[in-house]
Point group: C2
Chain length 397, copies 2
């Protein structure tokens, strides 16, 4: 049984704050600042360039990829770290399209994170070969997977509502139609059990600064099904994906397997923070995590149903159909969220009217949920959101 | 007059080491570890998600881009930080090729850093439109710029020999032929005065972990000539390059100017280290830096000429034709460099036979040069390199 009181102790949670936005930026693992400081002084400072070997920097993207692999049901040596999620989406999609020379449709859904769609649009324009991005309603994806589809490009968990796709079923459907399945795990990795090997997914990508708590701008990851990896041509052919980076060959030869998806020099400071954050996961059972995530969500729902009559559930009612967040609609959602934040309850607003609350069992308690909903109830009951100060939108919300 | 004794004091230089590899990885600025630690605890730890606005994280890539701009002769708001150099090369080249729909040649030289060539090869294959990467000898580049050339893709300073292209002349030649000029400033930014605006360069990219001392995997930068920027379509169309990232529009609309070259979430830890490193440059005059760089190189040459008869100069003899490094050939170059490193003099070996020494006026002194060459002379004189232990190649050299 995972000890979630112990994992909570491993995070710095500021006084007076209830943090329900760990699905946007995870909080600071207490061990991370000293870990990064130590890396900078003992490795960068003392070993200088030789740290690339002596301190294991060069191997870090693969070593840490293996730590992530365990959390997403992937075999060792199938995941590598680097770049940002958008770059990894680009690489996965470009490789998939090249494997499907006779198909022109990229199938996604209208709930996908916009950046994935932007990346697809940018790639389509760059390629100029008549590919088309087809966006359908999330519940209609399966019906649109046909023999025109080169690849599906789906995010398992919807960033606004928390609605969860059936990864196994959609991947099977894609394969039946001869399509490749690309999964964005931004709101899945560290949020719920993922079984990449079992679902036979072809490509997967994700970020680490949400449920994995690597800090702002932490590196992304990419996975390729092992039997496909040696056929995947990285559009971004960088030297660290080369078979022999330090041979300085004039010609590119992709490295073996997932290693070819490395591009440039890895961000060692961010990787050190991620490494410290991943230590927290060592004792965590993903089944326990999921059970607790659902319990927190159900508590949130019950408390809202009891005390917040103005809120409409935006997430699926069925826990199995949700990720690790719960969302509600309110016509004044933006102002309500600002009023909440002003009172120390940090969630997120997503246009047009969604209040989003991340549920992160590693550090969120039942008391947090009860206190958060009590504050929310008071804001709604007393119309505290109806204040001009809460209506001014910032650049980042 | 720049106070280089003062700048040297701002770096941590390990005891017993003479570091002449700052053109591979700059040493640790003393202020950097605490700066990053403070950012992690006070900003990430205390402000959590709100730090994107309150601590200025979202604006950091543009703000720090302006700090770099000053060092490379670019106007404010023309440089932005992010990703790795390879990714930025890809973006610049993809945008340039799209501006040149009727031309198919990318002109580079055989001395270019291999990763730039790999990236070009990868882009050519992904596009599948018959582009061709033409590599000629560095001294023949000008003669091959004709009306088939879409873009030149050149690194100003050769990573092995330090040979320097004439950026102004080659850019002029490119423009006369209707080609676009893309410059890689990896070994230029912080190494010598660069005048992007004055030379009318179209695109420039560079890394920050060499002469700018941002630490392992520090973010790259990209510059676009201001009048071209709004026509540049970013192949990597990520949400932070969108005109309104937090509107979560389903369709991509590129941001104004260079901002569109942002892709994903910026690496805030690495940016904090870079910011600390850039403070050191506040009092530095680039003309002073160049004069001192040349003086250190000439001293190195004189000392080698006097005491190391077995070494052949691999760099241009004319200081004006060199960057901020000096290189020599030796048939047993690899073993010689290992013997040097074992004695605390850290330079770099580059195949097949080059000993490379970075000259970094911010922290390299005349005494360092004299002591380094004295050690080198002894290794050569006494054949200390002739030891089996020095012949085993590591993954990273």
């Amino acid at each position: 049984m995972t000890d979630f009181a112990a994992t909570r102790e491993m995070f710095h949670l500021p006084d007076g704050v209830i943090y329900l936005d760990g699905n946007s930026l995870g909080p600071l693992p207490k061990a991370a600042p000293d870990r990064v400081h130590e890396m900078m002084t003992a490795e960068w400072g003392e070993m200088l360039i030789t740290a690339w070997n002596r301190a294991g920097w060069m191997a870090a993207p693969a070593r840490i990829g293996d730590r992530i692999a365990r959390l997403i049901g992937a075999a060792p040596c199938t995941v590598v770290m680097g770049d940002t999620l958008s770059v990894k989406v680009y690489q996965a999609l470009a490789a998939a399209l090249e494997m499907q020379p006779d198909r022109r449709v990229i199938l996604s859904d209208t709930g996908n994170f916009p950046s994935d769609l932007y990346v697809a649009e940018g790639l389509i324009e760059a390629l100029g070969r008549g590919h088309r991005l087809k966006r359908v309603a999330p519940e209609e994806v399966a019906d649109h997977i046909d023999d025109t589809v080169a690849a599906t490009l789906l995010t398992e968990v919807d960033y606004r509502t928390g609605r969860r796709h059936d990864m196994a079923a959609l991947t099977r459907r894609a394969h039946e139609a001869g399509a490749l399945a690309i999964w964005d795990l931004a709101h899945s990795a560290g949020a719920l059990p993922v079984d990449l090997a079992g679902t036979d997914a072809d490509f997967a990508v994700g970020c680490t600064y949400k449920f994995l708590n690597s800090g702002p701008g932490g590196p992304a990851f990419i996975y390729i099904r092992p039997d496909l990896a040696d056929r995947a041509r990285p559009a971004l052919a960088g030297w660290l994906g080369h078979e022999a980076p330090f041979a300085f060959d004039p010609d590119y030869r992709p490295g073996a397997g997932i290693a070819r998806m490395r591009v440039g020099t890895p961000p060692i400071l961010q990787l050190a923070a991620l490494d410290a954050a991943l230590d927290i996961w060592e004792g965590v059972d993903m089944g326990d995590l999921r059970r607790r995530s659902i319990a927190l969500a159900e508590l949130f729902r019950d408390e809202v149903a009891r005390s917040c009559p103005g809120l409409e559930l935006a997430s699926p009612a069925d826990p199995a159909a949700r990720g690790s967040q719960i969302s509600f609609r309110h016509p004044e959602g933006y102002a309500v969220m600002q009023a909440l934040i002003a009172r120390g309850v940090i969630g997120d607003f997503r246009a047009p009217d969604i209040l989003r609350f991340g549920l992160t069992p590693l550090y969120t308690s039942e008391d947090d949920i009860r206190a958060a909903v009590a504050t929310l109830a008071r804001i709604l009951d007393e119309r505290l959101w109806d204040d001009a100060a809460y209506r001014v939108r910032n650049a980042v919300t």
